[in-house]
Amino acid sequence: MSRHDVQLTVNGVSHRVQVESRLLLVHLLRENLRLTGTHIGCDTTHCGACTVLIDGEPVKSCTVLAVQAEGAEITTVEGLEQNGKLHPVQEAFWEKHGLQCGYCTPGMILTSCALLARDKDPSEAQIREAISGNLCRCTGYSNIVKAIQSAAERLRQQ
């Protein structure tokens, strides 16, 4: 099995790591870089708990090889907080009770960040469509949608 030197940027920090070809990106993040905010849920490309941003786009990191992330800019939930202050989307999830057990939350928040980076004023339908690849088994999604709407408002006011 081939091994590869991979150069990637995670949350603004450049890393050079040697990986086995079959290592999944989610394992690189969690085990090699100890960024355990990215969760593993179904491990079968359904649930979205492992969502990270690759070059700004949300993807399921259980279905990306670490070696495929060569040269990529990756954002995990740990990268959202700036100078001890939560990201507006994180603030909104906290304030609107957009989480219960919290397992889906990092993925849900990163997907929301990508949506709001593209569209500052999404409709409820657009929000629900954007998060349709992120499953939450607690909230029934109502408060997640409210949190994203609230985050959109905060970001528009910035």
């Binding site: 070809s21 079959r22 079968t44 979205g48 279905t63 990306v64 495929q68």
Partner: protein
Amino acid sequence: MIPSAFDYHAPTSVPEAIALLTRFGDSAKVISGGQSLLPLLKLRLGTAEHLVDIGRIAGLEYVREEGGFLRIGGRTREAVLERSAVVQERYPILADTARVIADPLVRNRATVGGNLAHGDPANDHPATMLALRATVVAQGPGGERTVPIDRFFTGLFATALASDEILTEIRIPVPPNRTGGAYVKLERKVGDYATAAAAAQVTLDGGGDFVQVGLALTNAGPVPVRSTAAEDFLVGKRAADTNIAEAARRAAEAASPTADRRGSVEYKREMARVLAARALKKAVERAGGR
């Protein structure tokens, strides 16, 4: 879950990729977006000694009209297809299709070429490309060749692509005036394969008769199927509900779905009938027929 061990190769040009595929033969698999292949490898339903990643090859992602065709680069991601202005304006059937494939996160990696080359009759693009009478462009050691979509799917998870060929482009004839298309899918939830789905592309004449009809079904047999009986029935007839209903009935009759957790054969055939009629009606509307 971790795939079995394999060697990974990341060529930066098509000739380099073909050279690798020629060298490794059947022990190599092409990985494009990896959204079908990686789950298979992780579940160990499939293995590969070598993965040849075509994701580092520049110039394989584009959607443009040129020379009488809509040309879609083989490595065009579904999200790019879905957001393409020319697709939204002139090929709504493709936008319909892209937006029901898996989920938005998967569509940020999954590619149109991969959706076809995987050869899965449950995938959504095969039916749409059949309805659109697309041509697939394959590049191999001997150069480029084109394969009509009707000869592309050769069996369950099998296509006309040789082990040393890469799907580089999909060509769709630019539609004549008064053409419309639609893809309609029934799924249990976002991300599921179709319980049933239908793709329709129709061209009408000035009097509202069908001049050309493409109709195909998803997940209705071991290979993606064109509904020839329905197409032949409609050509030359009025774009009226009674004719559409009869065509849909013929399409469903010719389908051979299998029973699974999504439903019985009878249920799926009935849904194929309902969806074929809906897709045809929507296509007619978009062609300006109503």
